[in-house]
């Protein structure tokens, strides 16, 4: 065993512990044990988050591409239509298979669901499917002519290429819809005409409002964070309460307060009328629109800007500014050339945080947003609860999530997520 001492590449290799094993191996074992112990501490929460949080979200987002319902209902058609080249109408075989599927779907009561699915692609197709399914049992061959006899829409090539596309289990159509694109007659992807675009303007509006809220938070947050950082700790701790109390107060309370302040019969309008700035008839509509959303969201997200700014400004020694002044810089130059560049990490951290939270906001826009202040989250909720178009909700959700994750990654680069602090 002492022969190992001949190994001269490393001293540690040659050293032995008292039970005769090499020190290096023992050290490696100890490190491994520590690693494992640290990991085991994290493991329960990791498993919990994976099971109750990440997995459900993953499954939900999978719905944006996976929609097998239509193909399962029209399984005969799915096989028959595979060889159709899309140039003319499909052959008689396809029509025969389709009528057989219609009859079965009517019997199994699955026709409504399949009809709803195709209705997302071609409006009005649901009633075409359900009404034809009712008559399908009585149809005689040749099915092609018979079906077109029932409703002449069955003779449209566009309809059949849509059916062919939907019989697959995987679809891109929800993503296309959420980017305001669709398939045209020749199965090419085209952009919706301007006046029928819904989601692209909505994404733009979400980012626009998020950006505005972010800018307002910088404008309002920078001065008070600066003041807090230069005041003696006792005073600044007292003033900090003004930042932290809103932070700790329920979101709904703050939103309610803004309704009371901004509504037509609210406090701001009352004061303006009292001061004769506006007349009683011309009260300003400040809520249930975009302005209301922006004001309330700025108020709600401002602490998220002040806290990171404050923690960065706190670390900047005041002597730097004094040094700049004594070297002849004016107050303004000293501020812009010496102080401000050092606060940029804080501005970046706060901005990304505020923007991330703003574009995912749901409650406040839903309550005070009205028609012009709704964000992408509200539309996702609408598709989840009202129109039940879960595929589209999932597609919109994953696009929103993707933009948030990019920013989250950026945030991690700028500050490191473990540097985040509250209060």
């Amino acid at each position: 065993m002492v022969d190992t001492a001949l190994n001269t590449t490393s001293v540690a290799d040659g050293l032995l512990t008292d039970d005769g094993k090499s020190l290096k191996a023992k050290l490696a074992l100890a490190t491994r044990r520590n690693k494992l112990r640290a990991f085991l501490l994290v493991a329960p929460l990791l498993v919990f988050i994976l099971v109750t949080f990440l997995w459900p979200i993953g499954v939900m987002l999978y719905r944006s591409v996976y929609s097998p319902n239509f193909g399962e209902t029209f399984y005969r058609t799915a096989i028959a239509i595979k060889d159709w080249d899309g140039k003319d109408l499909p052959s008689e075989d396809v029509f025969a298979a389709f009528v057989a599927d219609l009859v079965q779907a009517k019997k199994d009561r699955t026709i409504g669901k399949a009809g709803t699915r195709i209705n997302y692609e071609i409006s009005g197709a649901r009633s075409l499917f359900t009404s034809s399914a009712r008559k399908a049992k009585k149809l005689e061959p040749p099915y092609k002519e018979a079906l077109i006899g029932v409703k002449e829409q069955w003779g449209e090539r566009n309809l059949w290429s849509t059916i062919k596309r939907l019989t697959g289990s995987y679809t891109a159509s929800f993503y296309l819809a959420s980017l305001d694109r669709r398939y045209n007659k020749d199965n090419q992807i085209v952009t919706q005409p301007e006046e029928r675009q819904i989601y692209l303007p909505l994404f733009l509006r979400t980012f626009w409002i998020g950006g505005l809220v972010m800018v307002f938070c910088i404008i309002l947050g920078y001065p008070i964070a600066y003041l807090l950082s230069i005041l003696p700790l006792r005073t600044s701790n007292l003033l900090m309460i003004m930042v932290l109390l809103p932070f700790w107060t329920s979101l709904l309370v703050r939103t309610t307060a803004w309704i009371a302040i901004l509504q037509r019969e609210g406090i701001v309008n009352d004061v303006l009328v009292f001061l004769r700035i506006i007349s009683d008839e011309n009260r300003i509509q400040m809520i249930y629109n975009q302005a209301g959303t922006i004001i309330a969201m700025t108020h709600i997200l401002l602490p998220f800007m002040v806290l990171p700014l404050y923690s960065v400004m706190k670390t900047i020694p005041p002597s730097y500014m004094r040094a700049a002044r004594s070297l002849g810089a004016t107050q303004f130059t000293a501020f812009t050339r010496v102080y401000m560049p050092q606060t940029l990490p804080g501005v970046g951290a706060g901005s990304v945080l505020v923007f991330i939270l703003a574009i995912g906001y749901y409650i406040t826009p839903a309550l005070v947003g009205g028609r012009t202040g709704t964000l992408i989250s509200n539309v996702i909720a609408g598709h989840m609860q009202k129109s039940l178009n879960w595929g589209l909700a999932a597609a919109l959700g994953s696009l929103l999530l993707a933009s948030v994750l990019v920013l989250y990654w950026l945030y991690n680069k700028i500050v490191g997520v473990d540097k985040m602090k509250f209060g």
């Binding site: 520590n34 690693k35 990991f39 085991l40 994290v42 929460l45 990791l46 919990f48 988050i49 109750t52 949080f53 990440l54 459900p56 499954v59 939900m60 001065p223 003041l227 700790l233 701790n237 003033l239 309460i241 003004m242 109390l245 700790w248 329920s250 979101l251 709904l252 309370v253 309610t256 307060a257 309704i259 009371a260 302040i261 019969e265 609210g266 406090i267 108020h299 401002l302 005041p318 107050q331 995912g360 906001y361 749901y362 409650i363 309550l367 989250s377 996702i380 909720a381 989840m384 959700g397 929103l400 999530l401 948030v404 989250y408 997520v417 473990d418 985040m420 602090k421 509250f422 209060g423």
Partner: protein, 303 residues
């Protein structure tokens, strides 16, 4: 930083106007939170100050909206005050019901999130941990992912496993949302933790669990409690997941407020809001006191 005696007039103007601007911003922050307090004592069912309130007419103020919190939903709200009235309110009043739910759910969430989060933070603060950044990223993600996506995902998942419209479903969902706050707060406390104390404890013959309860725990306790309070308030305020996951039985205070704001807007909401503001003042003060205590323990003193 006081104004130096050699400051010129320009600097003087700047000094005072800057403070005025900051004062205005502080008012912008705090006024909306405080404005609900006087409004909740309105005798009229309005969301604004009546002329009587502005002239401090005693008749313009009332506690009727606070009484409404206890009465709304009762089978016999106008009976004389008695044990029967109290038990009627306790079991039938909507706001009382949702208050019970809110506390029940939030307390369970606090227990679960604090234990899971503290353990994870202990692991995360060890330098040996592999993939530290990635793990931290995953554990913090519930705070970053837009709530609507979380809620939608959980809605499908909990419906599939039969936990939708149950207390367990809401508690699990809120625990996931609350743990990041515990992880962040406790990890921040662990940064100032002197690791040689652990070795000292072990050196003196203490078992690992003794070291944990006698050495580590007392030192990080302020951080753990703050994290727990953050988890509590997260659950107590959360409404999106509740909207998707809870049934009528699991209604919480924010859920009740949500439908109150959307459907029948009554000053009862302002009365509830006032109570919630008081709760947040209590929680905030507790966290502040704990933070000072923890700073004192680590030898940081206010200047």
């Amino acid at each position: 930083m006081a104004l130096p005696s050699y400051a010129g007039p320009g600097e003087r103007i700047w000094y005072y106007s800057f403070r005025v601007v900051c004062g205005a911003i502080f008012l912008f922050l705090i006024l909306p939170v405080l404005i609900v307090v006087p409004l909740s004592f309105n005798a009229e069912p309005y969301f604004t100050f009546t002329s009587g309130m502005l002239s401090f007419d005693a008749d313009a103020f009332s506690l009727r909206w606070y009484a409404d919190i206890f009465k709304n939903g009762m089978s016999a709200p106008n009976d004389a005050f008695s044990w029967a009235w109290i038990s009627d309110s306790w079991s039938n009043a909507q706001w009382v019901h949702s208050t019970k739910n809110s506390f029940f759910i939030a307390i369970w969430v606090t227990i679960l999130a604090t234990s899971l989060g503290t353990l994870a933070a202990l692991g995360l603060s060890q330098s040996e941990l592999p993939f530290r950044g990635a793990l931290m990223g995953i554990l913090i993600s519930p705070m970053i992912v837009p709530l609507i996506i979380t809620a939608a995902g959980m809605y499908f998942f909990y419906s599939d496993v039969g936990l939708a419209q149950t207390y367990i479903g809401v508690i699990l969902a809120h625990t996931a949302l609350g743990t990041p706050f515990v992880v962040i707060t406790v990890t921040a406390t662990m940064i100032g933790f002197d690791r040689s104390l652990i070795r000292a404890g072990a050196n003196l013959g203490a078992q690992p669990h003794t070291v944990f309860f006698k050495v580590i725990m007392p030192l990080i306790l302020p951080g753990v409690i703050s994290g727990g309070l953050f988890a509590f308030i997260t659950s107590f305020d959360e409404v999106v997941a509740v909207l998707f996951l809870s049934g009528f039985e699991q209604r919480t205070i924010p859920r009740q407020m949500w439908s109150g704001i959307r459907e029948q807007i009554s000053p009862t909401i302002l009365a509830v809001a006032t109570i919630l503001v008081c709760i947040s003042i209590v929680l905030l003060s507790t966290v502040e006191i704990l933070r000072r205590r923890s700073e004192k323990m680590r030898g940081i003193r206010p200047v």
